[in-house]
Subunit: 99 residues, 2 copies
Amino acid sequence: MTQLETSMACLMKIFDTYAGKEGKPDTPTKAEVKTLLDKELPGRLKKRSAEDVNKLLKDLDFNGDGEVDFTEFMVLVTSITSKQCFYLSLHSKKLFTLL
Amino acid sequence: MTQLETSMACLMKIFDTYAGKEGKPDTPTKAEVKTLLDKELPGRLKKRSAEDVNKLLKDLDFNGDGEVDFTEFMVLVTSITSKQCFYLSLHSKKLFTLL
């Protein structure tokens, strides 16, 4: 597989892993997304108040169905990665964790 | 790094690699996106007519600036991956290349 295909497969696997813990297996609940963020982006949510986190989770749920589907998950990945890109292009080519 | 951070770093690296070949180093031209698709998603564009490919590249350029920025690139990645997810959830957990 190419690097892009590997990244795509990895993103799907991450999404499926956390989505499958409770409720519907193909869409994570907000609690499952919070667990995903805690585990996959360690330390980031700690800088945020509970209120901020709830707002982030609410904002992610574009269609208001109480769940985060894959596209909504990818919006989160894109926004975090875009910030990385912006920060990286400003400073240096080392990955800095920023939310 | 976690799996998600590794995937994010990989997506950034892929984007930077192809964006840096000509013109502005942080936004690939449509020609560079086509090269990216040919190399990173081998075989997919072959099923498509030149007209389809041009339409895809045009559609990707949401802000019409003649380039594809990282967010526009991630829309492409999301749409392809979402189709993968849909196809995978219907059939089996093996990665099928579909555009």
